[in-house]
Amino acid sequence: MKKYFPLIALALLSILPLIGLSTYMMHIVILVVMWSIIGMAWNLLGGYCGQVSFGHAAYFGVGAYTAGILYSKLGASPWWGVLLSIVVVTIFSFILGYVVLRLRGPFFALATLASGEVMRVTAENWVGFTGGTLGIMVHERTWVEKIWYYYIILLIAAVTYFLVKKLVESKLGYYFVAIREDQDAAESLGINTTLYKTIALCISGVLTGIAGAFYMNYMGYIDPHVVFALHDISIITIMIVMVGGVATYWGPFVGAVIMVFLAEWVRSIPGLGAAHQTLFGVLLIVIIIFLPNGIVGDYKKLKRLVGLGRTS
């Protein structure tokens, strides 16, 4: 039964639009699925391989801008950008990885944080190429209905899920976790840590970049503050995985559901405005203290905590 759970979930998600969701709800569901892809991508690098990136907006943005610039400069459909972003982000991740993966622990985290910001500032100032802060607007939308976007992102999510699962259960997965647990031990066991960290970073980057390219197509507009955002992309990515469950298959999905709905709910309360970020901060602290492995990772503990809450 448990073995078929992913397929059942996929089947349920495929028929979800048939129950007649409002356009707004479809939008939210699309965002949830997109965020779960980014979460799964981050989880591969941060959760399994232990390289905590604070700069996943860099990959998301490069993916989005690949599609955007393909459209604005060459007039090609930004959908080609989804494919092209695989190549572009691989090269980008490889170069970036060469620099940041020399660093360990907090230094790696800081370097990734900086890389995201560097990309944002670059995109803002390289006006001739990126359009600067005006961003890129796609003038003709492919579909008016959201359902097609939903099926495309769901397909990408399904492929991502099975890819990550396959990787984690293979030699690569063992190597990633070994590197996370002890880099020196891993190296002395014959694991080329530099190589495998680069592989993890490239796969994670590309999956995030694909989500970025999809975002360009779906939203029809990008600018540096949106796609290279530190708090709205990089930090939210980490939160999704932390809340859902680090190094679990379902964590990113659970985290994406909670974070997207929470953000929308808080945003709908008048007078609260951008206070959702304050709330996220508090939530993160609570999660780290009480459920350090996230909702999926600490599911049993969560049940116990809730159970206690009921009796008292």
Binding site: E181, D182, A185, S188, L189, G190
Partner: protein, 240 residues
Amino acid sequence: MSLLEAKNVSMFFGGLAAISDVSFEVKEGEILGLIGPNGAGKTTMFNVVNGFYKPTKGEVFFKDKKISGLKPHQICKMGIARTFQVVKPLQRMSVLDNVIASAFLRVKGRAQAEEIALETIKFTGLYDDREVISKGLPLGKRKKLEIARALATQPEMLLLDESFAGLNPHELDESIEIIKKIRARGITIMIIEHHMKVIMSISDRIVVLNYGEKIAEGTPQEIANNPFVVEAYLGEEKSA
């Protein structure tokens, strides 16, 4: 025939010579003990052989190929595996998964890796603990896990860094048996140990380091009677 050869190896950290001009060789199939007081440079020597440090001077050869300057993972692939004095288990992985991770060095498939890993943990007496998360293992078993993990890379030579420290007498006997069984498989062993009874009973030859210099080399019998070694360990005899 010598399997491993260190030629005039020196290792400096800033102005400090952790090892100065040490040469020795390890013959195929033997157990070579490496002893010396604390801070003599024994673990540094392992780190040089294993590739964590590139020697400041001198060279190390394994099967007549120069290995000094290579990365640890390359040296491991060539057939030298090591254990750590301060154990480094992959904490949040089960014992079996720890060993599977290192078994992947020689095989691609998960099933083959698991087969090697299971065989190795049976060999080292960890089979009953295979599902235990290694964080929760007692020290004696962690030391065994270090050995199991190194063995799963199917080495020709094993570097054991104080695999007996902190063991109780029963565990000590078990570990000595394991070392003997490893040697019986044709794996050459170089071992750092403070436990004199152990080192004297299992080593074929012993190299003694003191303040980074080699002060003696020979059979356990020769070492026990060597005045320099006695002096290094017990201090100089002073006439009152």
